[in-house]
Structures are given as structure tokens and as C-alpha cells.
């Protein structure tokens, strides 16, 4: 929801970033306030995922210019784990498999890390088990996933649900979901959307990085941004997504850069 009095969570100014020496982000600006849902759309190679990973601090992505403030703090000088603890969550496009580490153990450690960051007591394994089972029920996840190794042998849809489960547990201030909808069937899509809509309260914000309009049938964004050539070319409301669906992306990049709605 858009509220003029809402606090600014994320402020990105003129961000430039590169991977293996190739510049991908070329001056990106974005402001996200508490309570808002943003969708970042754009064709392949426009820099959407790079933006998500650069915000989270992936070591392969180096920021060369620009500033990123998160709740007023300089996010770029924080280590990736400190960014996470500060409340920035990245839902991975390709969640990583970690053989030998039980999902329950991983989730509990992540959850307790977030709790101690907030100055709350850690949950013991039994308390945590109750909590995580309840959350899994909401996401229609089979509790067997707790005993399996993190993401190992999970199907694409299971991996994505597991990401949403982590988001639901950690309740981050800002969740950036990198193509969480790709490869999902309609049921999984509905479940993922449900998880996102639950998180979207006045204190939290969500940035959806997505290729298709499909997810936006279930999650109504406050803003839709179109990326191209490493920056945001156009910003609009939910109706922009529908327009993209019918007209494609080419007409946006044909307009003069920075022509925002």
C-alpha cells in the first residue's frame, strides 16, 4: 500500500555494478517505502537478477558506483550476513543445495540468528519445531522437508516454497524475490503469493523480480518498474504490467530513457 507518511526502507541512487569486469547495472535509481510492493520486470539480460544479488552482497557482483541506503544505513559497507541480519532477504532464483545439513537445522539457525539480532531469546528445537510446522501448513508444505538436506533433491517448486518458508520465518523488513515465480505450477504460484501477501504489512516491503505478469494476478503491486540495459526505464502502477503483457517490452526501450510515468 502506498502511504505518503511511510518510512523509506530502501534508497538506491545511480547504482552501477559489474560481474567479471562487465558492467551490468548502469545507474539504477529506486526508492522503496515500508508497506509497498514493487515489481521489477524486464526482458532477459536487463539486469534484474544482478540488481537483486548486488543488493544482497553476492561476492561475484561488485558495485562500482552509487549508493544504497537501507533504513538510513549504508548497505554497501555491510558483509552479506550483516545485510541479512539488518533485514534484507533475498529469495533465490536457483536455491542452493547443501547436502548433509538438515533443513530443520538450517532453518532454526537462520531463525535464531534473526531473533538474537532483534534481542529476543532463541527458540529451542522443540519450540522451533512447533513454529515451523505451523508455517509449513500455511504454505501447504509436507513436514518431511524438515528432515531432508537443504534443497537437496527438491523439485523446482519445492525449492521455491522452501525459500518462501524461510521468508515467512525470518519476517524480513525487505524481501527481494528473484524470479520466485519462474517454473512454478499454478498451485505453487498461489502458495507463494499467499506467503508474500502475508508478509506485506505496513512495516515490511517486498520487491518482486519477475519476468511474467502471471504472479501479479495474485499479488497486486503498488509499483511496476521496467528495467532495460541496466536501469529502470519506466515506472507505473499495476496497469503497466498488463500493458507489458499485451505489448511486450520493446516499446518501453524505444521510449527515451528515464521517461517515467
Amino acid at each position: 500500500m502506498i502511504r505518503p507518511e511511510a518510512k523509506t526502507l530502501l534508497e538506491v541512487r545511480a547504482l552501477r555494478a559489474s560481474v567479471s569486469g562487465i558492467e551490468i547495472l548502469k545507474g539504477l535509481d529506486l526508492t522503496v517505502k515500508a508497506g509497498e510492493i514493487h515489481a521489477i520486470m524486464g526482458p532477459n539480460g536487463s539486469g534484474k537478477s544482478t540488481f537483486a544479488k548486488a543488493l544482497a552482497g553476492h561476492p561475484a557482483y561488485s558495485v562500482t558506483e552509487g549508493t544504497v541506503l537501507f533504513e538510513g544505513r549504508n548497505l554497501l559497507e555491510l558483509e552479506p550476513e550483516a545485510r541479512a541480519r539488518a533485514g534484507v532477504f533475498l529469495g533465490f532464483q536457483y536455491p542452493i543445495e547443501i547436502p548433509g545439513v538438515a533443513n530443520s537445522q538450517f532453518l532454526r539457525l537462520a531463525y535464531n540468528t534473526a531473533r538474537s539480532e532483534r534481542g529476543e531469546d532463541e527458540l529451542d528445537p522443540l519450540e522451533f519445531d512447533d513454529l515451523v510446522r505451523e508455517k509449513m501448513k500455511l504454505l501447504e508444505m509436507n513436514p518431511d522437508f524438515l528432515d531432508r538436506s537443504v534443497n537437496e533433491g527438491f523439485s523446482g517448486g519445492e525449492k521455491k516454497r522452501n525459500e518462501i518458508l524461510q521468508m515467512a520465518l525470518l519476517e524480513p523488513r525487505l524481501a527481494i524475490l528473484d524470479e520466485t515465480d519462474s517454473g512454478l505450477d499454478i498451485d505453487a504460484l498461489r502458495v507463494v503469493a499467499h506467503g508474500v501477501n502475508r508478509l506485506a504489512t505496513p512495516d515490511h516491503a517486498v520487491v518482486l523480480v519477475t519476468h511474467y505478469q502471471r504472479l501479479l494476478n495474485y499479488i497486486v503491486p503498488d509499483y511496476v518498474h521496467v528495467m532495460g540495459a541496466g536501469r529502470i526505464l519506466k515506472t507505473g502502477g499495476p496497469e503497466l504490467a498488463l500493458e507489458l503483457e499485451t505489448r511486450g517490452y520493446d516499446w518501453v526501450s524505444a521510449e527515451p530513457a528515464g521517461a517515467a510515468a
Binding site: 533465490f92 547443501i98 547436502p99 545439513v101
Partner: protein
């Protein structure tokens, strides 16, 4: 990223202190007179001196083995002192132990005294060459269990020692076993009589304290018909920038329906981050499943030593006997390990399991070498082997050398192997959930080693988990 990995592995060795204790050290060098001196110091019977001399003469004619995947300068066996004992020696009770020595063990966290009793672990402590104290002896004696130093066993139970010593690892078995047979100084002896289940874990703690002394301990464990015992062994040494030699021999004998479980947490000094100093750990460990339905299980967590050359093995002679080998070998910096097992199937329906987990970090090199031999009479033999390697960083190496010799058509032998790597993407995934590199690595490593840690007695499993964490600190990132 790999710089973080580097830092994580490089944590100072916490056991690297030297204890200021007056020692009785034999002059350096090795010839027949050295052996006579050791034997005389220990007031040994004539047969044992003969045993030693025979081994020594055999050793002189043997060549140092070069087949292992380890590299080191030639050892000067004349530059080693073959006997070092803290003085005053041999004590009746713990109160007589040199307080300095007790403080050493306190620093090491060895459970002795009350702590030993609380932990329910009987401990034999070997300091350089001499057994210092054996706790809980009396209580064990009530059920007929003999647990003492091997020197004491030679005096008090010569018939048992004579019967079994060298019966599993013969005098001339290999270069280092022959050397050990010639110059072994102390070690543990354990005898579980027929039908007795040892009521507590037995434990030996080894420490090399004197620079330029070698440690050559000899351990002999016998479980008679229907007996069972769980035995634990821990090892540390101070930091010296010279290399010290540790060449032990361990022999296990399990008679009908007997069970021996032998667990080791080896943390000898591994040398510094440039590879200077550290222990050469050349050890021969072998168990004989002599009786039907007997079982011998080796579990080892090898984290120390500059070089490890060690293959705890099982000879499955009794029908239906079972051999197991569970191993975690971690190498860092310039450590080298060539370790594994041998399972020799002789009896019918014998079974063996090998689970080996190798972790390499820094510039280290970690090799698994294992032999599964099914001899013609071993009808229905089965083996399952699983060898997994994990690499941390870009400079280390891992190898697997499985040898499989099957001479009976009814045998089933399975071998699985995998290699994985702790990668940047895994660590980033953890980091993105607020979990730092050290914790992430320890979680991955513990998951990787789980199958082996499950085999360790509880306190040992906790210690092993901590130890791996310490060893890898600074190696990830």
C-alpha cells in the same frame, strides 16, 4: 573468498605447550644396546628382549615404504631418542603424580580423577614413553577386566602378553611395525574375560612431551568369548619446529561372539602454517576377528600430524564376523594424510563396512587408500565402501585409491565415492540467511561427517565436532 577460507583454517594449536618436568631420556641413536637399555629399564623378561632383538634385526634389513602418497625428507633414525620418562616414575595413586603433570592433563582436558569418575571413563595416560596413571583399575578388576600399561601387563600377566603380542601384527609386518616391535616403550593393555561386557569406556591418552624423542606405544586388547569393550584413544603433542616420529602398533583380538569398538581422536601437532614441524604419524593398527560372530569396529577422527600413514584393518577370520571402519581425516596447511583400511575376508558370511570422509583445506593433500580382499574360502562375503572427499579452497588435493581383490564368486562388493567442494555460492546462501562463514562451514562439515560421528561415544563426538571447527577456523571465506 578463499582468503576467508584461509583464515578460518589457521588457528593456533592449543596443545602446543611443553611441560617442565624432569625427564629420564635415553641418548639419541638406535642399535642393539639401545634396545637392551629399554628392556633393562623396564625389567623385562628374557623372551621380550628376544622379541625386540628379532624385530630389530628384521628391521635393519627392511626398506622404508615409499608407496604412500606423502612426501617428506628422509628420517634420521639415529637422531631420535627412543626412551623418555618423567621422573619420578610409577605411582600407586594419583596423589603421587607430579603436580606439573596433572596440570598438563588439566590443560588438555583429559578426564582424570573425579572428572574421570563422573564421566565414567577409565583412563590410562602415556606421557612420552611411560604410563603415568591408570584410573578405575580396581573397580574393573572386580569383574576380571585387566586394564593397565603394557609394561605392567608384562610383569603381572606375562602369559597373556606372550600369547597375543605380535599375533595380529607380526614382527616383520612392515617397516614401522618392526621398528615399534623393537623399541616400543609403553602403551595400554586390556583384557576382557569371557562373557564380560566392560561396564565403562576405557580410554588412553597419549602425549609426546620431549623434543627429539619418538613415541612408540604398543596397545593390545583382547576380548574373550562373548566379551565386549569400547576403547577410546586421544593424542596431542607440544609444538616443536622439528618433526617427531610416532610409530605405534595396536593389536585387537576378538574371540567368538566378542566385540571391540576402538575410537581415536588424533590431534598430534600438525606443524605450523608453513609446514614446519609436526608429528610423523606412522601407525599400524589391526584387529583380528578370530572367533565366529565377532565384531571389530574402528572409528577415527584424524586431524593432527604433519604426515599420517595409517590403515586400521580387520582380518575377518571367524565365520559371520564383522569389520567396520569409520573415518574422518582432516588436513590443512601443508598436512599430508594417506589413510584408509584393509578388510580381509577369510571366514564365511563375513561382512565389512567402510565409511571414509576426507576433508582437505589449505595446501594439504588427503588420500584414502583401502583394500578389500575376499579370499577363496570367504563364501558369501559382503563389503560396502563409501569414500567421500570434500575440498575447501583451491590449493588442496584429495585422492581415492581403492584396491579390490575378489577371489570368491559369491562375494558382493560395493564401492561408492564422491567429491564435493564448499563453494562460494553455498557460503553466500548461508550468509544471506544471516549465518557467517565459520558457522556455515562447521555445519556443512558436521553434516558431511555425521555418519562417522554417530559411531563415536557421546563425549568424543562432542570433542571431535569442536576439534574440526577449531582446525578449520580461518580457512573459509
Amino acid at each position: 573468498m578463499s582468503a576467508v577460507i584461509q583464515n578460518l583454517v589457521n588457528r593456533p594449536y592449543p596443545h602446543g605447550f611443553v611441560t617442565e618436568i624432569e625427564s629420564d631420556v635415553a641418548p639419541k641413536g638406535l642399535d642393539e644396546s639401545t634396545i637392551r637399555l629399554i628392556s633393562a629399564r623396564k625389567n623385562e623378561p628374557e623372551w621380550l628382549l628376544e622379541f625386540r632383538l628379532k624385530a630389530f634385526r628384521g628391521w635393519l634389513a627392511m626398506a622404508e615404504p615409499v608407496w604412500a602418497n606423502v612426501h617428506y625428507p628422509k628420517i634420521d633414525f639415529q637422531a631420535i631418542s627412543y626412551y623418555a620418562a618423567p621422573k619420578p616414575k610409577k605411582l600407586a595413586s594419583m596423589d603421587e603424580v607430579d603436580p606439573e603433570l596433572l596440570r598438563t592433563f588439566e590443560k588438555l582436558g583429559v578426564p582424570m580423577n573425579e572428572r574421570a569418575k563422573l564421566a565414567g571413563v577409565a583412563v590410562d595416560v602415556i606421557f612420552d614413553s611411560v604410563s603415568v596413571a591408570t584410573t578405575y583399575k580396581q573397580k574393573l578388576a572386580e569383574v576380571g577386566i585387566i586394564f593397565c600399561s603394557i609394561s605392567e601387563a608384562v610383569r603381572e600377566h606375562p602369559e597373556l602378553v606372550r600369547k597375543y603380542l605380535g599375533s595380529v601384527v607380526p614382527l616383520g609386518d612392515n617397516y614401522y611395525a618392526a621398528l615399534n616391535s623393537a623399541v616400543f616403550t609403553d602403551g595400554s593393555f586390556c583384557f576382557i574375560p569371557k562373557g564380560v561386557k566392560c561396564p565403562m569406556d576405557l580410554s588412553t591418552y597419549f602425549r609426546i612431551n620431549t623434543e627429539a624423542s619418538g613415541q612408540f606405544e604398543r596397545t593390545l586388547i583382547i576380548a574373550e568369548e562373548g566379551a565386549s569393550v569400547s576403547y577410546l584413544e586421544g593424542c596431542t603433542a607440544p609444538k616443536f619446529d622439528t618433526n617427531q616420529l610416532h610409530a605405534a602398533v595396536v593389536e585387537l583380538i576378538a574371540l567368538d561372539n566378542a566385540e571391540i569398538k576402538y575410537s581415536t581422536v588424533q590431534n598430534w601437532y600438525a606443524g605450523d602454517e608453513k609446514g614446519v614441524g609436526g608429528i610423523y604419524n606412522f601407525v599400524t593398527k589391526r584387529g583380528l576377528c578370530k572367533g565366529v560372530n565377532s565384531r571389530i569396529s574402528w572409528t577415527q577422527v584424524e586431524t593432527g600430524s604433519a604426515i599420517t600413514w595409517k590403515y586400521p584393518s580387520c582380518v575377518l577370520r571367524g565365520d559371520n564376523s564383522v569389520g567396520e571402519f569409520y573415518s574422518v581425516a582432516l588436513t590443512n596447511n601443508y598436512q599430508q594424510a594417506d589413510t584408509g583400511t584393509k578388510m580381509v575376508h577369510i571366514g564365511r558370511n563375513t561382512r565389512s563396512t567402510i565409511i571414509s570422509k576426507g576433508i582437505s583445506a589449505g595446501h594439504s593433500n588427503n588420500s584414502y587408500r583401502g583394500l578389500v580382499r575376499v579370499t577363496p574360502p570367504a563364501e558369501g562375503a559382503r563389503n560396502y565402501s563409501q569414500c567421500d572427499s570434500m575440498l575447501i579452497g583451491e590449493q588442496c588435493g584429495a585422492n581415492t585409491f581403492p584396491y579390490i581383490q575378489v577371489r570368491n564368486h559369491s562375494a558382493k562388493v560395493e564401492h561408492e565415492a564422491s567429491t564435493s567442494k564448499i563453494g562460494e555460492d553455498q557460503l553466500f546462501y548461508f550468509a544471506q540467511r544471516g549465518i557467517g562463514a565459520e558457522e556455515a562451514v562447521s555445519m556443512i562439515i558436521n553434516g558431511f561427517c555425521k555418519q562417522v560421528f554417530q559411531q563415536l561415544p557421546m563425549e568424543f563426538a562432542v570433542e571431535a565436532t569442536k576439534l574440526l571447527g577449531l582446525k578449520l577456523e580461518g580457512s573459509v571465506g
